[in-house]
Amino acid sequence: MHITFVKKIKADGSPCRKCAEVEQRLRESGQLERIDTVAIADERDPESSGMLLAAKHGIDVAPFFIVRDDDGAERIYTIFFQFAKEVLNRRLAEQDEAKELLSRDPSLDLL
């Protein structure tokens, strides 16, 4: 299995807050070492590795994860708690899952 973590640099050059949060969670749980490749999606550079991966997979949010299984099949995770649960076998706190659902499902915006 090969895991790519795509994180964003915003158009003003600052790091994406959500990406930093996710990275911190991975670090705190000791699972950052499970990430094989970190790709930067730099909004100032459409040809940065992360932006190219986003375009290739049709993803318009960050962070996201690309998981390539040994048989070559790829899965994309844009929701961190699903990635944590299905790939890292780790369950997040329910309120963290709820917070992420809200930020990732735009139709819940005016709930």
Partner: protein
């Protein structure tokens, strides 16, 4: 459940332009374990339409503990007026206590509404939806052009459903405009939340909702202080290329 996942896309297309009443009928006549999510605002039209199809429809509201007094009065009026099975869903008290203990009563003004809404709305919603096969919402595309343009009248809910326990989501008002909703309210003399008469269009929790000015979009009445952060997760390619 009489509607298979494989039929969802076909039905969404077939019902895309039909009257909300027909979409509700499809939902209520084909899915037994289904409920309407009622926010206490103009989605009252769903309850009115559903009650004309059958009695005893299951309705739930998310009582965050921070709603306007007018909304509580309206929820009670609706509960008494319509022959429905009404349920209020409350947040987990331990999670609310922890949030307030650590960040106070107005954390959303500092670090955004997602944490508070997650605890007060999404967690109870998730708990309720875990008991259902389908839910009905008042979501409309015109409510937020930035976030709701993609909603279909019928869709599989991938946020709250799973492969093991799929969940259907009916949005009978998806293609209606606010004007059409209010035309129905007037034509059928449907009761409404008195906050609407005071300029409130979208109604949520009291601290996070405000009246809007004429011609101002209803999104402007919610979380107005965090316009920038709501775009935080998007990937926005600029025009710059590598030199």
């Amino acid at each position: 459940m009489a509607i298979a996942r494989a039929d969802v896309a076909r039905l969404a297309s077939e019902y895309a332009a039909k009257h909300p009443r027909e979409i509700l009928r499809l939902a209520l006549e084909n899915v037994e374990n289904i409920a309407i999510s009622f926010s206490g605002a103009d989605d009252i039209v769903l309850i009115d339409m559903a009650s004309r199809i059958r009695t005893g429809v299951q309705v739930f509201s998310l009582d965050t503990g921070r709603l306007h007094p007018e909304t509580y009065k309206f929820l009670e009026l609706v509960r008494e007026r319509y022959d429905i099975r009404f349920e209020a869903m409350f947040p987990d008290h331990a999670a609310v206590e922890k949030l307030v203990r650590e960040k106070g009563m107005y954390s959303f003004f500092v670090d955004g509404h997602h944490e508070c809404c997650g605890i007060r709305k999404v967690m109870p919603l998730r708990r309720k939806l875990a008991t259902l096969d389908a839910w009905i919402t008042g979501q409309r595309r015109d409510q937020s052009p930035g976030t709701r343009l993609a909603i279909e009248v019928i869709e599989e809910d991938k946020s709250f459903g799973t492969d093991e326990k799929p969940l259907l989501k009916f949005n009978p008002l998806a293609h209606w405009t606010s004007a059409q909703v209010w035309e129905y309210i007037r034509d059928y003399e449907v009761p409404y939340n008195e906050l609407h008469a005071r300029g409130y269009v979208s109604i949520g929790c009291e601290p996070c909702t405000r009246a809007v000015l004429p011609n101002q979009h209803e999104r402007a009445g919610r979380w107005w202080w965090e316009e920038e952060t709501k775009k935080e997760c998007g990937l926005h390619a600029g025009n710059r290329t590598k030199p």
